[in-house]
Every structure is written in C-alpha cells, then in structure tokens.
C-alpha cells in the first residue's frame, strides 16, 4: 500500500458543530498514525456531521468552527477531492455501473501510470481479501461480506492520508460483523494512517481499541 507521503497525525482543533443555535458536538484531539479515535453517540448527536466536516462535504445547514490538520497542513479549506480522506460508510456503495475490479481501478491514484501496473495492483488488492478472480464480476452479485471487503480495499488503494469510518459494520449480521471488524482494523492500522471511527455500538469501540469520545449522551434543549 503506497501512501501519499509519510503518515502524519490528524488534528481536530476546537471543532464545534452547531445546528441553528444548538451546539451538537465539540471535539479537540490529535490522532496518531495507526491510532483509532472512536466517537460514540446516539443518532442525531452530530457524529456523522463530524465525519462530513473531516471529509469536506458538510451540509451548509450546519455551522462548524475549528480546523482540521494533517501534520502541519491545514485541510479546513481544502476541497474534498484534494484531502485524500478514505471513507467507509454503513453501505459498501460499490459503484454499480463498474465491475468489481473497475471499482478498485477507479480508486488507484492517477499518479500510478500504466494499465498493466494498475491492473496488477487491483488484482493484488482483490487477492488479499480472498477474492482473486473476481475482477470482472458485477458487484451486485457479491455477498454482503464480500462487498464490504471490496469497499475496504477500494478505500485503501486510494492511498488515503486518513480514514473515516461511519458505522461501517452496523448493517452486517453478527458473525460477519466480527470478522469484518477484525479485518478492517487490522488492515487500517497496517496502512499506518490516523483513523476516526464514529459508531453507536460499544463493541466497535472496544474492537477499535483506542481512545473513545462520547458525545450527545443526553438530549440538549
């Protein structure tokens, strides 16, 4: 897995999220490469908004103050596609018009030239998750667990500077969830980038094994 630069810590500096006049959430933290910061809270607590802020696609209805930095570089004003934030959502969201391999190819940085080289990286990525020979398959024909794994590899081959995990296991059934969780955390930590996980599931936080910030525990007026 090639990184853009050497892994650098991710800093959320005095990030406060407001909706109308209500303060939803306020966070200040630095996440080291390979470390997982878990933000726990019920739905509506603003934790997905925090990820949107970190990813660079915030709904204008929310007002956010504070900054996000990678190493010393301020990303707050950087467009989403320049941030290199790898995201995993609740759904795998494989692009349905592309093949399984096409999904991975799409994610490989454009700096990697040469069709052969790119194809090789994609094949390798699939092999690593036990899906060798799946390159030309229709993503719709994969099982839920297989889709989740492809989504993970797609994010990792894009050489992200940091990872944002938005309850990525909540829609998997219990057995699959544990398995996928173990795979995601091991691979994500191996990538050596800072990771922010938002979840409402205590087991996720436990498996992540890092710091936990609880938000929105009680409803605010």
């Amino acid at each position: 897995m090639q990184a853009v630069d050497d892994p650098m810590p991710l800093t959320l500096a005095d990030v406060v999220i407001r909706l109308a006049e209500r303060t939803l959430l306020s966070v200040s933290a630095t996440v080291m490469p390979g470390e997982v910061l878990t933000v726990m809270g019920p739905s509506g607590s603003g934790k997905s908004t925090l990820l949107a802020f970190a990813g660079g696609f915030l709904d204008p209805a929310f007002r956010v103050s504070g900054r996000i930095l990678i190493g010393d570089r301020d990303l707050t004003d950087v467009a989403a596609n320049e941030r290199h934030a790898g995201i995993l959502f609740q759904d795998p969201l494989l692009f349905p018009h592309l093949s399984v391999g096409g999904n991975i190819l799409f994610a490989i940085p454009q700096a990697v030239k040469g069709q052969k080289m790119r194809r090789q990286i994609a094949e390798q990525a699939l092999e690593q998750i036990g899906l060798a020979g799946f390159f030309d398959r229709d993503p719709e024909t994969l099982s839920g667990g297989q889709k989740a794994r492809v989504a993970l590899q797609r994010t990792l081959v894009s050489a992200p500077r940091y990872l944002l995990l938005d309850e990525p296991f909540s829609k998997l059934d219990a057995a699959l969830r544990q398995q996928t969780r173990a795979l995601v955390f091991s691979k994500a930590k191996a990538a050596g980038v800072p990771i922010i996980l938002v979840t409402h599931d205590g087991a996720d936080a436990e498996a992540a094994g890092g710091r936990v910030i609880e938000v929105g525990s009680e409803a605010e007026a």
């Binding site: 707050t76 596609n81 995201i87 692009f95 349905p96 018009h97 994610a107």
Partner: protein, 570 residues
C-alpha cells in the same frame, strides 16, 4: 481560530447557484419577455419593419370589429376553465380514492404512456372515434341507431366545444396525474388515512380534509400551466374545436400565418387580447380557489364524514381508464383508416386492407419526418446538456426560485410570446430556418427536461459522490464517471420527454418556421381542415409513433449497455 460559518467551496457553490440561475433567466426569461414585448408593441401600431411607427389603437378597434370575436373569446375561456376543473377533479378524486391500492398501480401503468402522445395525435384519435362516420357510430349502426348513412351531426367541431374539452381532458389528466404522483411521496398518506378512517371519515372526505390542501399547494403551478395551455391551445382547437367562429387562439394563428403581412397587426392585437383572456382565466381560477377553500372549511367544521363515496370514486376511476381507452382505441381507429380500402358506412371494419396510402404518402412524409426528428434530437440533446450543467452547478441545495422560473414558458400563453418572437425575427430580418426553430423549441423543451431530470438528480445517494471525492477524484471526473453513468436511465428518460415535447410543438414551429420548415405535426394539423382521412391517419400515427420510439430507446438503452450490471437495469 476564527469563527467560520461557511467554507470557501460552499461560497463558491452559492456563486454557482446565482450564476446558474442567471443563465436560466437568460435562456428562458429573456425570450419570453422579448416575445411578449414583440406582441404588445405592434398591437398598438408600432412595427417599424412593416411601416408602423405611430402608436394607434386602430388595430384594436379592427379586432373588436371582427365577426363573433366575443364568442371566440368566451368559448376559449370557458373551455379552458372547464378542462382544468374537470382534469383536476378526476385526478384529485382518483388519487384520494385509490392511492395505495392495486387499482392505482394498474391505472398508473395505463395512463403513463399517454403523456408521450402528442396533443394533435390524441385529438385526431378522439375525432376518428366520435365523428358521425367514426368508429363508435359504425360499431352500433345500423343495429342500434338505424343509421345507414352518417348523420348530419356537427362533430367533432361542435359549437359548444365539448369535443375539444374532451380531447384536452384526455391529455391533461395524464399530465396532472404524473405531476401529482411526483409530490405524493412527500405527504403522510398512510398515517393521515388511518387517522381519518379512525375518525369515521370516508376515503374521499378524509383525503380532502387532511391532505388535499398540502397536495394542491405543490401542484398549483402545473395546474396553472394546464389552465393557460387549455385557454390558449391552437392545434387541438383546430382539430376538435368549433369553427365559424373558431376559438380566439385559432383565429390569431390564422392571422399570424397570413401571407398578407399587414395582418400581423391584427394578429398582435389578438395576441394581446389572448394575454388578457389568460389573465382573466387565472383571475377566475383564483376566485375558484377561494371558493373551494371556503367550501372545504365548511365541510371540515361541519365534520361531514361522507362515508358513502363509492360513486364518485368509481367515476374517477372510470374517467382515468377512459382517457387511456379513448386515446388507444382512437389510435387504433387511425391505423384502420390508414390501411383501409373501401370502407362504406356503417360497416364496422373496412372490406379490404391495403398499404396503398402508406406507400403513396411515404415520399411526401419523409422530409417532414426527418425535420421533426432532427429538431427533436437537437433540441432535447441541447436541453439535456444545459439541464445537466445547471443541476451540476446548483448542486443539491435549494433551487426554489429557479424551479418556479422553469414554468415561465408554460405559464405565458405561447401564442402571445411566440408570435412576438416571430415579429422580432421579421424586424431583425431573420430568415426562418432550422436554427431559429430549434431555438424556440429549446424554450419549451428545456423546462420539461429539467423537471424530468431534477428529481432523480436530487435523489441520487450523495455518498457515492462523497466516496468518489474521498478517493481523490475531481468534481468533473465524479460527474462523468460516477453521477452521469448512475443517472444514465434518468438522462435518457429526460431526453425522451424533451423529444416528445419537441415533436408535439405545433404553433412555435408554424410561426417561427413560417412555412419553410414543416414537421409531421404542422403537416398533420394542416390536413385536419378537409384533408383525406386516410392520409391524416398516416400522419397522426407517425406523429404518435416518434415519441414512443424515443421512450422505447430510453428504456432499452440501459438494458443493453448495462446488461452485465444487475443494479443498473432496474
């Protein structure tokens, strides 16, 4: 760390939004306003190109002196109001009575294709059914009627415009129905129904009291579009409407297309009058809205349950299905006529079938068909490109104002501004040609394409694009590699909608093309006055077939292109 309420890319989004709307104003608003100005000035005698320099009311006086002008006005006004009221009543009652039932889904499938049938073809379909020598009377003659010769009825061009109203209703019902369907998901249909049923209300009264006001507010603009269209319609009125006197819009169209250019002044005065008629129609409709609201309040306060509502529900269901039945069987009648050999009254079917008419017509119809297709393809392709770039710039954020602006070319009566555009074109010395007709087609096609595309555009899961952006892809690559492929079907459908709108345009083609650019539609409508019924059958069928072909391609395209992608073929 400073307090930030907006990040720069959002500010950029806001600029895009205004820039996008500005573009829309220029594309849609400017021609409409210029057209209206081009109508009003000559009405008062100002038209330098034709030697009119001094303001005068002579042309208005001349208009007032036209025989039976008042009757022309009143029939157009009444027919438009009755059409709108009837179509709204049918659709409203049907949705109130059947939303969420299996019948609803079936009627939905039955009615949807009607939207693609051009107004003129639908009007011919009805005419071929109800004419004294039409299919309906043949089916029951002479057994039930005793007729051995076609009776001397003034049908379909009855003086009370009943057949014209029927023809308009069959086309406006599907339009209003599909527009209403689009806003239905935003209503708490299930909960309201349970609540009102628990309170002992009938389906109709329960819907009327709990949901109708909300629903009506959402479909109000389309309702006004129907009203304005029905009051100002030309092609349907030429085919089905009264003659001697014809309705005002038809008379204006004749004046405007007259070879004597001085008649343009009279046409201008007429178009100005038409604008006033439309304002009057809207005024009357606003009063009707007030009355309706008042009646609904009385009904609500009285707690009227109206539990016995089977009859109106059944009528609305039958009316909905009837629209489909009329148009489909009428198209069938057109087809039979087009291949009929000798077919004396009252035989229900022709004695011989022949391809003679098709063979004889094909050389003369091929050029109008090519023109029609070329116009429709380029207008809808252009509209699709503009729609995509506007939606891309506007993003997912609010587009309330621009959305309403879309209806501008649909709310201003086309005869009042297209005629003005024709005058302007003459003044500038523009020769009528493909580009100018294309431009005016675009004006009518773009709103429908935008309306058709904007809902699926908004509904696409935003996380696909967020994901792609996170993978480092530029906005343009995300648009072309992710969004547009995912919206491929919606784009094709919007394209087909635009295509069918362009095919059905009569007046703009006639006035701007000035006889030099003929389409299947202008030819078919021209034939309606005394043309050979068999030839009309061919033209009307070809006109109806073109949009169907477009929708066929729109539904088959994704099947073929994405045959290995299950999620893309739904």
């Amino acid at each position: 760390m400073g307090q930030r309420t907006r990040r720069p890319d959002q500010d950029r989004g806001v600029t895009y939004l205004t820039a996008g709307n500005g573009l829309l104003v220029i594309i849609l608003g400017l021609p409409v306003l210029a057209g209206v100005a081009g109508t009003i000035l000559p009405a008062f005698g100002y038209l330098p190109a034709l030697g009119g320099f001094r303001p005068t009311t002579a042309h208005l006086v001349e208009l007032a002196g036209q025989p039976h002008i008042l009757r022309s006005v009143l029939v157009a006004l009444a027919a438009g109001l009755i059409t709108t009221l009837a179509a709204l009543a049918i659709v409203g009652t049907f949705i109130a009575g059947f939303a969420g039932t299996p019948i609803f889904a079936r009627v939905h499938h039955l009615v949807s294709p009607l939207l693609a049938v051009p107004h003129a073809a639908a009007a011919f379909a009805l005419a071929f059914l109800i004419a004294p020598s039409g299919l309906l009377l043949r089916l029951v003659s002479p057994e039930l009627t005793g007729f051995t010769r076609p009776p001397d009825w003034l049908l379909p061009n009855d003086p009370l415009a009943l057949s014209m109203i029927a023809g308009l209703v069959t086309k406006e019902v599907p339009f209003l129905f599909l527009v209403t369907l689009a806003s239905l998901p935003q209503l708490p249909l299930g909960r309201a129904r349970q609540l009102m049923a628990a309170l002992g209300y009938g389906r109709l009264s329960g819907f009327l009291i709990s949901l109708w006001p909300m629903l009506y507010r959402q479909i109000r603009l389309p309702v006004f579009a129907v009203l304005v269209y029905s009051v100002s319609v030309v092609d349907v009125a030429m085919i089905l409407g009264p003659q001697l006197p014809a309705t005002l819009p038809v008379r204006i169209a004749h004046w405007a297309a007259d070879h004597d250019l001085r008649m343009r002044f009279l046409a201008s005065a007429g178009a100005l009058l038409q604008l006033i008629v439309v304002f009057a129609a809207i005024g009357i409709w606003l009063v009707l809205e007030r009355l309706g609201k008042f009646a609904l309040t009385l009904l609500t306060l009285a707690g009227t349950r109206l539990r016995e509502d089977m009859l109106p529900r059944a009528i609305s269901g039958l009316a909905m299905a009837g629209c489909a039945a009329i148009i489909f069987s009428g198209l069938g009648a057109l087809f039979i006529w087009s291949v009929a050999g000798l077919w004396p009254f009252p035989r229900a079917l022709p004695g011989a079938i022949t391809a003679k008419i098709w063979l004889r017509t094909s050389p003369q119809i091929s050029e109008p068909v090519l023109t029609t297709v070329a116009l429709a393809l380029s207008a809808s392709a252009l509209a699709l490109v503009i729609a995509i770039s506007l939606l891309h710039r506007n993003g997912r954020g609010g587009n309330g104002a621009s959305y309403k602006l879309l209806y501008l070319p649909l709310i201003v009566p086309e005869i009042s501004f297209v005629f003005g555009l024709q005058i302007l074109a003459i003044s500038i010395g523009f020769t009528p040609a493909f580009p100018s007709v294309l431009a005016v087609h675009l004006l009518f096609v773009l709103p429908y394409v935008l309306l058709s595309l904007s809902a699926p555009w908004r509904e696409l899961d935003p996380r696909f694009e967020q994901m792609a952006a996170g993978l480092g892809q530029s906005p343009l690559r995300v648009l072309f590699l992710i969004r547009l492929p995912l919206l491929f079907r919606a784009c094709l459908t919007a394209f087909a909608v635009g295509f069918s709108v362009s095919v059905s345009l009569y007046l703009p083609t006639l006035l701007i093309g000035a006889g030099r650019l003929t389409t299947v539609t202008t030819e078919a409508v021209a034939l309606s006055a005394g043309g050979d019924r068999r030839v009309i059958g061919v033209y009307a069928l070809v006109q109806a077939a073109l949009p169907f072909l477009a929708f066929l391609v729109a539904s088959l395209g994704p099947q073929l292109l994405f045959r290995n992608r299950r999620a893309m073929r739904m």
